[in-house]
Amino acid sequence: MSAAPAGRLELVRSLKTNTDARRLFACLVGGLVLALMTGPSGSASAPTSGFTGSILNPRVFGFLGFGAAIWLLMTVRHRFGDRIRAASDRVQASPRRLLPDRRLRYGIYAVVLAIAIVYPMHLSGFWQEVLVDQVGVYVLLAVGLNVVVGYAGLLDLGYIAFYAIGAYSAAYWTGALPIHPFVHLNPFWAIPFAILAATIAGVILGAPTLRLRGDYLAIVTLGFGEIIQIVATNLTGVTGGAQGVIGIPHFSIHLFGIRYAWGINNLPYYYLLLGFVVVVLVLFRSLENSRVGRFWTAIREDEVAAEASGINVLKYKVMAFAIGASTSGFAGMLTASKIAFVEPGDFTVQLSILILVLVIFGGMGSLPGAVVGAAVLQWAPWYLREHPILGFQQQDIYIYLGALLVVMMIFRPEGMIPSRRRRREIGLAEHGVGHADALSGTGPGPVA
């Protein structure tokens, strides 16, 4: 036995006995694998170019650093997690919490809003477009789906259908479709009609199907999403068919001598969208803390008890469904006017699922969660793609987002910023009381 193998044995032994060392090793290997996976691919002429391009490249340090950061997080959580949780519970439970908490919250909102207003001014046109088309609209969509999935616990996989209805309503009322209304409206005036159309569609679809539970509801909504897309493709005389419709006008104001038109510039659209999102957030925040919001929580938790407490379960489910649909329709309307173009290919099932992912990632039932989830997940792919060192391949990005979600579901199933109610539910489910995901729809079971 020479010294070197003994040293190696020492290392192996420490890996076997020391949990922290073992974790660090695993994290670094993980980072290396990630670097290898995300790097350039090899080709027949140079089979090793993928390997050398990934490993013998400064970007590998980025991934190793990422692995080390994950390790640090895990270690802190492992060592101090209980103490941190206990401290946060103490803060949550203390009766004097309310006042400073509220002040803190409004402070955070103000800072976030200020950043949201100032920051985009300094971005390039490309990133401004990402902010509007990829982030802003999806924030609105996620906030709407959050009402359906997060508040009322209904799994809606056809959410994008209402987005389509909103978009085509905008096209109809502004006169872009092959069929014309009796009067052509400015996009601003088309907003209420688009919202109304989506809401009505939500009620029509919701009233019969919301009697179903869990999986059945998901399947019906999935089918509805497909139906809308197929109808839009094939009803050429009304919707313009697979080519879509062009020429939906941009927003403009001609009022009291003020003349302003939103054109192809992204920044004005960004502020318009920001304004709408803030309004929607304020409205939904009061909704969450009202009788209606409490009823949704009650229904999500225990339908039988909710009914026994005099709540018309079907009515409130349809209400949640329709409010979600109206938000989706609103977002569709805004997009249609912004990009001046609608085509059936925009309204795929993947999009419905993506929005669901945004909500789950952010934290179901939590407005800040929906906003942050949508912002992060919609921003990240573009950031990773455009990053000079990391430089992810565009077509791979959803693999990593998928992996991220899996990791998230294991370590933080309640999402990034969970609502307090939701966090309690998850905690209860871990102790065997109730079911954490109201989406599983276990039904009433024996009433005992």
Partner: protein
């Protein structure tokens, strides 16, 4: 929306001052008969106890009374304080609750992620009218209703003695408090008739005493009629004005606590042939978690 139905003659009730009349109700699941022609009546203002061995059909009766189950035959007529007679069968659970029949469950079904206060508020607010638009815009009516609901909920928590725990999460409450919270939530819906399904199951002796006092106050101070399923004989005998005994889905006896204690059929079916008076059923302690409709055990064999 109240349908007037000719009151069926009730075997258990002679005078006309009934709050609910159950006539010939039969319920079966496939081949299993749960209720076989049950008839009973409850007077307004009365505490009526329904007792019987496990599987006798007590909880099934409750589920029929609250619109959870729809019996295949019979009629259940609710006479409300305004003099309307309404057929309960065929109505949904929330509609039945609106008629004025509230209930608690055998295994308490609170909204576990909400605080005690919010649980009661949900009961109270089921009688309010704020819609989604009012809630979003916080219209004056919304704010007024919110204040009313806060005040009433807090008064109800006071009434059941849970004021100190208002902001605790329901799931963290001890068993006895959960029971009382469920009663508070049910009272929030302003019932005329309160159905309590084994309220004392799983509670300790001192909690039982408090609970009995609470039920008496609900009955006397709030003027709510109480229909009670309970296995604890001491509690039943001390609380109930009248007792109805079910066995195999049939009413086998009805009468005052004294009469029931002397009734040979009851002693035979339920208390065991030794028949000790005021005896606590041996099965009471574990009866809490067991669904009644299963018909698994039928009391103690002699």
């Amino acid at each position: 929306m109240s349908t007037t139905v000719a009151p069926e003659p009730s075997v258990a009730l002679a005078d006309g001052d009934a709050i609910v009349e159950v006539a010939d109700v039969s319920l079966s699941f496939g081949g299993v008969t749960s209720l076989a022609g049950v008839s009973l009546g409850q007077r307004r203002g009365e505490i009526l106890a329904v007792i019987g061995p496990n599987g006798a059909g007590k909880t099934s009766l409750f589920n029929c009374l609250t619109g959870v189950y729809t019996p295949q035959a019979g009629s259940i007529v609710f006479h409300d304080a305004k003099g309307h007679d309404t057929q309960v069968i065929g109505r949904k659970a929330h509609v039945v609750n609106r008629l004025g029949i509230a209930r608690t469950f055998q295994t308490s079904r609170l909204f576990n992620a909400l605080t005690a206060f919010e649980n009661v508020k949900i009961g109270v607010e089921s009688r309010q009218h704020t819609g989604p638009v009012g809630a979003m815009l916080r219209l004056p009516r919304t704010r007024r209703e919110e204040r009313e609901s806060d005040a009433r909920s807090s008064a109800l928590l006071d009434f059941v003695g849970l004021h100190a725990r208002a902001n605790e999460v329901a799931s963290s409450l001890p068993y006895g408090d959960r029971r009382r919270l469920e009663i508070a939530r049910a009272l929030g819906t302003v019932p005329e008739l309160l159905l309590l399904d084994e309220p004392a199951a799983g509670t300790n002796p001192s909690e039982k005493v408090d609970l009995a006092a609470l039920i008496r106050r609900v009955n006397a101070d709030m003027g709510v009629s109480v229909l009670l399923i309970e296995h604890d004989m001491r509690l039943v005998m001390s609380l109930a004005h009248r007792i109805i005994v079910l066995n195999f889905g049939r009413v086998i006896a009805a009468g005052s606590p004294e009469e029931i204690q002397r009734n040979p059929a009851v002693i035979e079916a339920y208390l065991g042939s030794t028949g000790g008076e005021g005896e606590t059923s041996g099965g009471a302690a574990d009866a809490g978690g067991r669904p009644d409709a299963g018909g698994d055990t039928r009391g103690e064999e002699p």
